[in-house]
Symmetry: C2
Subunit: 236 residues, 2 copies
């Protein structure tokens, strides 16, 4: 079965967490909105007058008859189907819990450059962004990174959720990549305190399918429209 991923065509954004899972699992998928006319196809789903299980926002994934919305929900679905989450109930709940905590972190990352309104320009909330980014780097990044470093330290396997790679490991790779892009100066300092997370990042980057993906045109480069943005004035 060919999956259809629907997401904004010009950014990594939340779609990237889904792409990484689709790639690691070696699935056949189409990144719909990146094809000619595909963005209109995405809008048609969102504005459908009949679809009962309407997604609130991209990303959403069409899998046969299923139309699944919400990034962490898609990851749970793909994880179960492709062996990227443990099969036990306890293992699934723990994996999903980690994924949800990563998603919380991601919202806070986004809000460093959009603390007042996601529909406004950064330039119109620059002063507030400085305040938010300051608090973020001082209080929130250390709290989140230390949490995941602790989880890694207690799970001897070198992966977050279980004895082998699962979706939160892929997502954490993306978080580290993104933080390096957005906050290079601050991140150099943080990385000294979370060597296990850095090692996890490197381990994921070396996975053959992930390495091939990162070198392909399917990987959209980081840019100033996505969730991770580099503004020098926000970087500590």
């Amino acid at each position: 079965m060919r999956y259809e991923l629907y997401y904004w065509p010009e950014i990594q954004g939340r779609g990237e967490f889904v792409r990484l899972a689709l790639e690691e699992a070696g699935t056949d998928y189409v990144d719909v909105a990146r094809r000619r006319g595909g963005e209109n196809k995405m809008f048609a789903v969102m504005q459908s007058a009949r679809l009962r299980q309407l997604p609130f926002a991209p990303p959403f994934l069409k899998a046969g008859n299923l139309m699944i919305g919400q990034t962490t929900n898609i990851l749970m679905f793909l994880g179960r189907r492709h062996g990227l989450v443990p099969s036990s109930e306890a293992g699934l709940l723990w994996t999903h819990q980690l994924e949800l905590t990563i998603a919380d972190f991601l919202v806070e990352i986004h809000d460093t450059h959009h603390p007042i309104g996601s529909g406004l320009y950064y330039e119109d909330q620059k002063k507030e962004s400085k305040l938010r980014a300051q608090d973020f780097l001082k209080n929130r990044v250390p709290k989140f990174l230390n949490y995941f470093e602790t989880v890694l330290a207690r799970n001897k396997s070198g992966f977050l959720a279980s004895g082998r790679l699962a979706t939160p490991d892929l997502s954490m790779f993306q978080i580290v990549e993104g933080l390096r892009f957005a906050f290079p100066r601050a991140m150099r300092r943080f990385e000294r305190k979370c060597p296990k997370l850095v090692a996890l990042h490197d381990r994921v980057a070396r996975r053959p399918r992930i390495a091939a993906y990162l070198n392909s045109e399917r990987r959209i480069p980081f840019n100033q429209m996505g969730i991770f943005r580099h503004y020098r004035e926000l970087d500590g």
Copy 2:
């Protein structure tokens, strides 16, 4: 089995979404931190030096050997165990998707009074709160409420996720209650445009177990420390 809910004892907060599910399901549970010495018991879990499946923050639920964190994850677990989510994979994914969208809404509600930093006082981010609340009431509330109203309109049952009550219905009840407390003036205006959501709220409030709970001391009243806070200057 007696569940143990761990959450801050003085607020409804995220814990309330779990309490509503525990109450509707008629479960036996302890609200640990509201008992004498219970808050220290909660901190002991969070600061445990050995717990492998460490929660990032309250709420978390102890269910036998499981320690489950993240509100939506707990709701999925309880929903499956107590018939508060559909049993099919498709039904579960859709229900969880709705729950996750409600959780996204809740973050934005919280951030109206904490746009700069969750660890700072409201008084120290009052100016920014006004800007954020303005954008929230103008753009975000209509978008979210209209989305859920549309979902209700397409599901003829009068419930959000399926043919009968599921966890998102309980959560949406709490959202409506909370918005009425926090933004009474704006909410009067909004409610005219989402009669189905108001009817859902009323239907949930009339459920015998929910009605009994709301009249009990187990229900913590809304206050100025929780996620939903009433600041006159933010209410449109």
